[in-house]
Symmetry: C2
Subunit: 343 residues, 2 copies
Amino acid sequence: MTTPEPPVRRARRGSGAVTLHDVAKLAGVAPITASRALNTPAQVSPEVLRKVTEAVSRIGYVPNRLAGGLASARSRLVAAVVPTIAGPVFLDTVQALTGALAEQGYQLMLGQSGYVDSREDALLETIIGRRPDGIVLTGVMHSPEGRRRLLAAGIPVVETWDLTPTPIDMLVGFSHVEVGRAVVRFLHGKGRRRLAMVAGDDERSKQRQQAVHDSARALGLPAVPVIEVPAPTTLRSGRQALSALMAAHPHTDAVFCSSDLLALGVMTEARASGIDIPARLAVMGFGDLEFAADLHPALTTVRIDGNAIGRQAARFIVDRAEGREVAERVVDIGFSIVERDSA
Amino acid sequence: MTTPEPPVRRARRGSGAVTLHDVAKLAGVAPITASRALNTPAQVSPEVLRKVTEAVSRIGYVPNRLAGGLASARSRLVAAVVPTIAGPVFLDTVQALTGALAEQGYQLMLGQSGYVDSREDALLETIIGRRPDGIVLTGVMHSPEGRRRLLAAGIPVVETWDLTPTPIDMLVGFSHVEVGRAVVRFLHGKGRRRLAMVAGDDERSKQRQQAVHDSARALGLPAVPVIEVPAPTTLRSGRQALSALMAAHPHTDAVFCSSDLLALGVMTEARASGIDIPARLAVMGFGDLEFAADLHPALTTVRIDGNAIGRQAARFIVDRAEGREVAERVVDIGFSIVERDSA
DNA sequence: GTGAAAGCGCTAACAA
DNA sequence: TTGTTAGCGCTTTCAC
């Protein structure tokens, strides 16, 4: 007579990977102690710390952050949304963000809002599904519906590259209106009177356009024609825009472009059609990308410190994730006009 | 007289977020059924599907992918490593990768190997910790130690932008040796005899250098001087390189640059010092970035389809993650020489 | 087609 | 300082 078999425990086999359990066993401590040794080493005795550290390197343990994130409700993941990564404008910001986050043990997930047929809500859904500790919106407009979902999910949000009057949460940017004004003052101060703009069709560009328009009027300058080009801006659209501009407004003596790449396009077209820069036409860019200083003539442009924006955004999110209250939720990173040869 | 209180269950409160349990309750089914309705709708009855779908949208349920990934050992996360995101070379690849993965419900994590004081093993550790379903190495060299760790972790690896003889796992790229040969043949065919190179100091560039050197010798051309510039390549280093080159080798009649940005720098410097392109000096780039066609003169360059590389890499990884065996693990994406005006 | 039970690997809460 | 217990939210396994 046989005793009834106990129910067969068909335990799900783990992935076979080394787990914290293995470390703990090898070190002769409880798993939680091993966990503490790794996460808050100050809380364990030097002896335990040593044993755990040794066990970790002996068996090549790499903590499973999925499990850690699930248990602690802190994923150490940060999402960044850009219109497209292919435009050079936000690269510095993304780079700085990635780097600064990595230094703190956080990682960046990249989302592109401008990608073909990706509806905003689908993007938000994939992002929220990862339960990131924060989300950085860069050069991105978002629907009221999107704002609500983000807020509802309780995810800290940093908006960047703008200074909206009603931020969702945190904000690091600068005033595009001020940029518009400063550029008009600058060009006016250089004796330019017939200004024009070549501008991308994004929201921030529109703000600068409006400011340029208003400032020009205030200074008694003629109306400022605007050639709109689709975002993302390219060298090609800069060339086309200048040729359209000169056809319609041949007496233009200064062009403010909404990106350095557009400015390069304008300069390229100018050279191809024998327009002297800056004698006949002043050209200003926006962004101060790395190449701006080395163009010929060197590009006068509006310097935006994308790197600083990225670092501040990272600081905001890490502070919030670590439970530190963020005193000032809005940082104006400012801008400056870098005067070179093209204007 | 009071009955003894049951032991207080201080259950850890959930984050308060809506879970699959809530959906199931609302739909009147078991959680696992709700799970199936969402993940494998073909397995449930239309009636159940309807109820679950409705419940989801009613309470705004967003699945927790951390939990899902932990339970299923499939994170639907893919890591990409680039030297730095700030250089324009790999942008198309990263963009295509992000987009193609997003379409399949996967997400991209970005890692930069060239960031300050980030040791390779630290980067690998953070990546492996997320248990990604795949990792894409782009323009990145990796130590034998790194290869072993990746392999040991069982993570599918796609190397890109090169055709190494001993791939770790999967590979999508092209032959830099062939590029070097083709460029020399092309320039030789155009009657150029005194070739030179301006080259970044990365490994792939070295392969092209060697090939150029060998091909030139085979054709009986004089030795090809190389001006090395640090990676990432910039417009500025292109300018400096040309001026150094012309000082040392004034009779050079063709320059092959290891990036379009370098080529733009060379062209800029040439113009600044009155060197006519292409009459006096032919210039070739590498990459065929978006701006190349619109330069003045339009840049003759080696076209690399970074977008296709990204899409193929995504396909490799998704195929593997979905359990489809990848028949051919190496894809040569090829290249072509785009003849324009500069050479 | 649907469900109960168990567990993925980790950490919060409590207790000692 | 260390350990026990009970989950985090989901999917696998097995059974019906």
